[in-house]
């Protein structure tokens, strides 16, 4: 559906995007994961015809978007990171305007506003001015404005920044539903949990380049991800450390104060074994937690830094 080859963009001396390759198939949710400044927004601005790239190509259904942007503009929905709405207008007026921008009018427009406001869950607040909405509601109507014309491809740039967990869940569920209804989605975020939850395939970006690409599982497997078991004791657990080290599945152990962290590649139930060993030493265990390898670990492995650095 969408093919991007060797896309480059410079802002003066700064190379924002340095030769990105990306592909989106019909019905997919593709994630762009990376820290702030990784080049995600610039990449999607080029896809959505807002910025002209310095080099590379963008093809939508085999049409060169840079030469003929109209076909993609008609079926593209964009949810920008900013709340790109008119705060002094009501929710209804905003949706009406953005629907008109995509060529809808009359009863068709009214009907779409009805449907979309139902999907995003703001139907009962449509008469209020957007400036009166909570952060989460603003985010939801920001998404709604991009859905009115039934886009084939939806680009969402950090759509859940700065909102409450309830609104976030609602948005994520909405995105899932839209995808199940057949919409292709490009989802950018620096929240790896969201990308993990939503995306079929993930592109990890850093400093303007794609550093890894694949499904969540393949990405984790590619870096041979370790599982972490974190145990907090009532007192110094150094005595237990040597005993745990004897276990075959344990890669290494770190102790910091009363917290012991055990690293393993094993899928066996390590919690059971740790509890058994700890009971031998008569040290009270306060908590135990297991952290499975995730995209954060992948990013850390690839770049040596955390996603939210």
């Amino acid at each position: 559906m969408l093919k991007i080859n060797n896309l480059k963009k410079n802002y003066g001396e700064i190379q924002a995007v340095k030769g990105v390759h990306l592909e989106v198939n019909k019905g997919e949710i593709v994630g762009l994961l990376g820290p702030n400044g990784a080049g995600k927004s610039t990449t999607i601005s080029m896809i959505s015809t807002l910025i002209k790239p310095d080099a590379g190509s963008v093809e939508f259904k085999n049409i060169d978007v840079l030469k003929d942007p109209k076909p993609i503009q008609k079926v593209l929905g964009i949810v920008p990171q900013e709340i790109a709405l008119y705060p002094t207008l009501t929710g209804y007026e905003n949706l009406k305007f953005w629907g008109s921008a995509y060529g809808l009018k009359g009863s068709a427009l009214k009907e779409k506003i009805e449907i979309v406001s139902e999907i995003i869950g703001i139907k009962d607040r449509l008469k209020d001015k957007v400036e009166k909405y909570s952060g989460g509601m603003k985010r939801r109507i920001n998404i709604g404005a991009a859905l009115l014309h039934d886009p084939e491809l939806l680009i969402m740039d950090e759509p859940t920044v700065g909102i409450d967990p309830q609104s976030r869940n609602h948005i994520l569920e909405t995105i899932k539903q839209l995808n199940e209804d057949g919409m292709s989605i490009i989802y950018t975020s620096h929240y790896m949990e969201e990308v993990e939850f939503l995306c079929d395939r993930i592109y990890i970006m850093d400093e303007g380049v794609v550093i890894a690409e694949g499904t969540k599982e393949s990405l984790i497997a590619s870096v041979n991800g370790e599982k972490k078991v974190i145990v907090t004791y009532a007192k110094d657990p150094n005595g237990i450390k040597d005993r745990l080290n004897e276990l075959a599945q344990v890669e290494r152990i770190e102790v910091e104060g009363e917290v012991l962290t055990l690293y393993t590649h094993s899928n066996e139930n390590m919690m059971k074994k740790i509890i058994e060993v700890s009971s031998e030493f008569d040290i009270e265990m306060i908590s135990i937690d297991v952290e499975k390898p995730n995209l954060e670990s992948v990013f850390l492995h690839l770049t040596g830094k955390a996603l939210r650095d």
């Binding site: 964009i78 790109a84 953005w98 995509y102």
Partner: protein
């Protein structure tokens, strides 16, 4: 999407923006109310003043003892009557005159008892007669002393005197040319006598000045309410243009501009929509000022057709100015430049444009600068409409307005076209700046 949908949306936003409405509409009305009451003394002019003009006439000549070999007493009296016949004529019933000595006249001016003084010099009658003959030409100086507290009636007196002298001068030229022509050709004596008789009769007819003192019947002078309604309006038109420019930058900042572009709305449509908005804001400001001042304060703005005409020209000029401001702010990428202009340059423009002090109190160079400025030209144009001035008198200010609009619009569009490439949108394979 049509440009009208964009304009409709923008207008809704403007009308829902209470802060903007206060700045653009309420503030000028409040300020003009305060200033027109506070500075009413600076005007000291009302319709009453203009319709009751008293002139002090100082005759430095002695009609009984004229030193002239060729003027008969009868000729001298008829020459003297040229001016007084005009002052006594039907069209100038509101003008009266008294004969005074120079001392009495200057005292009357100081006491604000008369509008102006006309000083007829010692050789006034003799020189007038001399100039009537075909072979002589001698400069004739008539002095008018103005009463600075009665600006408008002094203007009228000056106009009357210069008009009379202009007519007399034309008569002299006609005499001279006719005599020379008759002398040059050998024309029958009877015909020559007939022509000369006709010319003498023409000289005896009163000089007509009504048309020279432009439309004096309809002349209305501006009072403080009228002055400050136009002055405040002219100043706040600048802020209206600035608001339109800010609006564009706000849309860019909030990403709604980019969102419109990604929806396939052509950048030209977006720019035209914003220019139309600035035009509408300007018309709205002018209309509201006219309505509130007319209904609330009985301000007379002049003939409706002229008002509409000047309003369109002014709003177009403001639109041009707005496009320049929009270009500057888009280039700067923030509101700093506009805020600095509002608090600095706009105040200077307002000062020189006559928004703070009545322009007629200022020296000529100041008035010229004012006329070159958008707000100054707008102020002058509206005041000419209020005074019922003919179109030719409005031309300088209207021309200035149009030039302002064209120059600003051209510069604005050039700057917008030269926006950095990374803010451009490819449309049909081309880069279009916004």
């Amino acid at each position: 999407m049509s440009i009208f949908t964009l304009i409709k949306k923008d207008l809704k936003i403007v009308l829902s923006d209470k802060k903007a409405l206060v700045i653009l509409v309420a503030m000028p009305i409040i300020l003009y109310t305060i200033l027109s009451f506070a500075l009413v003394g600076s005007f000291d002019t009302s319709d009453d003043e203009v319709w009751d003009i008293t002139i002090g006439i100082v005759k430095e000549y002695d009609l009984e003892n004229l030193e002239s070999d060729y003027l008969t007493q009868e000729d001298a009296e008829s020459l003297e009557k040229i001016l007084f016949d005009v002052l006594d004529s039907e069209g100038l019933e509101f003008v009266s005159y008294r004969f005074m000595t120079f001392e009495e006249a200057t005292e009357a001016i100081e006491n604000n008892n008369i509008s102006s003084v006309i000083i007829l010099p010692e050789n006034y009658i003799v020189d007038l007669g001399l100039n009537m003959s075909p072979t002589f030409r001698k400069p004739l100086d008539i002095q008018v002393i103005r009463n600075t507290d009665r600006q408008y009636s002094s203007d009228i007196v000056e106009n009357i005197v210069s008009s009379v002298m202009e007519n007399v001068s034309q008569m002299m030229i006609t005499n001279k040319v006719t005599y020379e022509t008759l002398n040059h050709y050998d024309i029958d004596k009877n015909i020559t006598t007939q022509i000369l008789d006709t010319m003498r009769n023409t000289e005896r007819e009163p000089v007509s000045v009504e048309t020279s003192v432009y439309n004096i019947d309809q002349l209305k002078m501006v009072n403080s309410g009228q002055y400050y309604s136009t002055a405040m309006m002219a100043m706040f038109l600048l802020f209206g243009a600035s608001y339109g420019a800010k609006f564009m930058l706000e849309e860019k900042r909030d990403f709604t501009l980019q969102r419109q572009q990604s929806a396939g709305i052509h950048p030209t449509t977006i720019v035209l929509g914003k220019l139309a908005l600035i035009f509408i804001i300007a018309v709205m400001q002018i209309t509201l000022m006219i309505l509130t001042s007319t209904i609330g304060f009985k301000v007379y703005w002049g003939e409706p057709i002229q008002i509409v005409f000047v309003t369109i020209i002014t709003a177009l000029a403001v639109t041009g100015f707005g496009s320049l401001l929009a270009a500057i702010s888009l280039k700067a990428g923030n509101f700093k430049a506009l805020n600095m202009m509002e608090s600095g340059i706009f105040q200077i423009l307002a000062l020189f444009g006559g928004s703070y002090f009545p322009l007629f109190l200022m020296p000529d160079w100041f008035k010229w600068i004012s006329r070159l400025l958008l707000n100054g030209a707008a102020l002058e144009a509206y005041q000419k409409v209020m005074m019922g001035a003919p179109l030719n008198e409005m031309l300088p200010s209207l021309t200035s307005l149009m030039l302002n609009g064209i120059v600003f619009l051209t510069i604005g569009m050039i700057i917008i076209q030269r926006q950095p490439k990374n803010t451009l949108i490819p449309v049909s394979g081309e880069e279009v700046s916004i």
